[in-house]
Amino acid sequence: MPITITMPALSPTMTEGTLANWQAKEGDTISSGDVLAEIETDKATMEVEAVDEGTLAKILIKGGTENVAVNTPIAILLEEGEDASALEGYDAGSAPEPEKEKSGDSSKEEEAPKKKADKDEPKKAKDDTAPDVKGSSGPAPVSKKGERIFSSPLARRIAANEGLDLKAIEGTGPHGRIIKADVEKAIASGGAKAKAEAAAPKAAQSAPAQPQAVTPPPEGDYEEIPLTSMRKTIARRLTEAKQTIPHFYLTIECELDNLLAMRKELNGRSDEYKISVNDFVIRASALALKKLPAANACWGGDKILQYKDFDISVAVAIEGGLITPVVRNADQKGLAGISNEMKELAGRAKEGKLKPEEYQGGCFSISNLGMYGIREFSAVINPPQSAILAIGTGEMRPVVKEGALAMATMMSVTLSCDHRVIDGAMGAELLKYFKGYIEEPLTMML
């Protein structure tokens, strides 16, 4: 039996990705563990390794194809002893049209009824319009791509009652079936967002490729640059952040001279690390959050999720965008440890090799543009986080000390807060603690 290779899910939330390129070509002999192709997700490029061995008989999805749904057959492998004739009449789930298949279970037993269901669906199933959910618990709705959305009758009924679009709801039941709890969660987390009438922007979220209504571009010669997955993610998430998170901003000045002296002394002691100002900032942020755990929280729709670990995300500029690797439990790590971990994460971030769990999570980010000489700026919160600290450059500035002008190395930092989670006074208190650690860095050692 030929073996069908399907689009893998590289993270629990991945529903589709770009099949960036094939590392193997048709006719190649494949051993288990060989790299077959590279897949580009929202944030990272990952390699698809062969599980079985054999000959790569047919590539079903060409390199460079975007929006390939998870579990779509992408290639066919022939086992040892099989030749191309084995392919005749072999149906890899009518694979060549990836947009028809989606995240169903790829097992053979499931294939047959599913395809039948596809055929049995009325023609409107392929229509791009919203599914008809106004009936009671009626027939299973179909997505705009034509596949059935698995949902319980009760979930359909509640969604219909509330005017919710099932397409916009992620199922957590068996085999990803949408259950009552999922619909209730969608209602709780700002149901309006998922209301059917607002289905358009929501659809844009599930298929970020579709441009939202934008002002027509000005006349003139231009080169059209296709969006990378990362660009789409940045566009979607930061638009969502600015549209839905009530941001406010707090700026404070920190004197750096003590910190710079300590850094110089520490770095002079060993070659095994080279601590940067940013490493101090990471630790100071974690310790400040630890002092004010209420700020170490995310907005959860109908609740606030206060996290127990003090994880700090750090924005790293990489080719084509940015990514935020997370320094976990930064409150429990020494400066050298943070520094080495950050170097390693940033290095792999630049190679696009971070695993999803290395850049997801945390409630708090740091964005540092100090190295560009930026004095101060306001950053956009990275949802679902609730705060981001924008770090400006450290520079000599005239300051007033004991009634007289003096020179000091100063750094401005601006905290963007989600007002749903962090109120003004809380944000200010957090910055006060942060400033305390930065200006008296010895206290960070306690």
């Binding site: 009671s136 009758p153 009760l154 009924r157 009652n161």
Partner: protein
Amino acid sequence: MSETKFDLAVVGSGPGGYVAAIRAAQLGMKTAVVEREHLGGICLNWGCIPTKTLLRTADVFTLINHAETFGIKVEGASVDLKKTVDRSRQVAGQLSGGVKHLLKKNKVTVIDGHGKLKGGGKLEVTKDDKVVTTLEARHIILATGARARTLPGLEPDGKLIWTYKEALVPDVMPKKLLVVGSGAIGIEFASFFNALGADVTVVEVMDRILPVEDAEISSLAEKAFKKQGMTIHKGTTVSDLKKSGGKVTATFKDKKDKTSTDTFDRVILAVGIVGNVENIGLEGTKVKVEKTHVVVDEYSRTGEPGVYAIGDLTGPPWLAHKASHEGVICVEKIAGEKDVHPLNTANIPGCTYCNPQVASVGLTEAAAKEQGYELKVGRFPFIGNGKAIALGEPEGLIKTIFDAKTGEMLGAHMIGAEVTELIQGYGIAKTLETTEIDLMHAIFPHPTISEAMHESVLDAYGKVIHI
């Protein structure tokens, strides 16, 4: 003991423990079960199974007593108590042997002794107060179950005042029996001894019997039991039990503090259970105990990393099938299996095997109202069901409760013949989140009692046919 290192050690081999162990072994974990008494735990040996065996005798005897109704003449039928009890023990023994075989087949190591946490993934096993072995396991599931609760002044002595354990192996047939507590356990024993000819009195502190069931079902059950000759005191406590001359004199106190006394041959205490949390090494760990039960999260994790608890040792409902299911969920979560979902207690059916049988799933009407639902309630009596009448079982009711807004089945409550075998139909419906529409569209075979399930749903929406 040669092997001491395991991926998973399970303390207790009841329906929670042995099922968890088998599932773990299936998932490739090296698994051990520590059991201090009988494989299969209380359920198999001193609970669900032996009581069902006794109740079968009661049912057969009741049927024989009504044989004439069916055109059969039977004379001189009598119950051989010893044979009845022997059969019950034989069935329990057979099933316990079955568990032993299943564990062996799945290569689960069974260790005879008492398990106790020793910290750091260690589990000490003792037998007759001597240490047999100390196991090391990355994960330890506590499934030590529960035992009968005793109330001050109402301590069992095993001779005149029984718990379930003595009641399962009676040496004499009590002429006059007092059952304290009308939950599932109390009512099953009351039903058994009543059917076999004892004069049974049931005392319940709440204002109705089977207090966890829907009030309507409680009231129908009470009527049926009274018709069978049972005496039932509701809203009453037993303030004193005095033993003299091989009899027990009980003092009852009703809500108005009025006292009365009566004398019985035997007393069965069935006033709830307490978790077996003692002497299993919980002291000094982060395992939290509340009201004799271990506090766990939705995947049975205790506060102590690597230590889990399932079944009666944890919170309600205290049912074997809940324990088994929890065990499977807990183990699959440990193994990192996909599609593992927490238990939804609203979908756990409960069955009481008295005569008439009682079964339910989900919310009672009162609880649903309390939660603010607007309700659609359907009722269908067995008298409208052809099969029930043919069986000579025309007394029964199926009640269904729906959320008027969404059509969600919130609860179902049944009393009557074979309802314990029927309830799982609604259990599946609830688990799949069906609405009334799906249940109306489902086709129920004729003639079966299950048709009453269909009619009850139809009745909730004014579409009932046969009443």
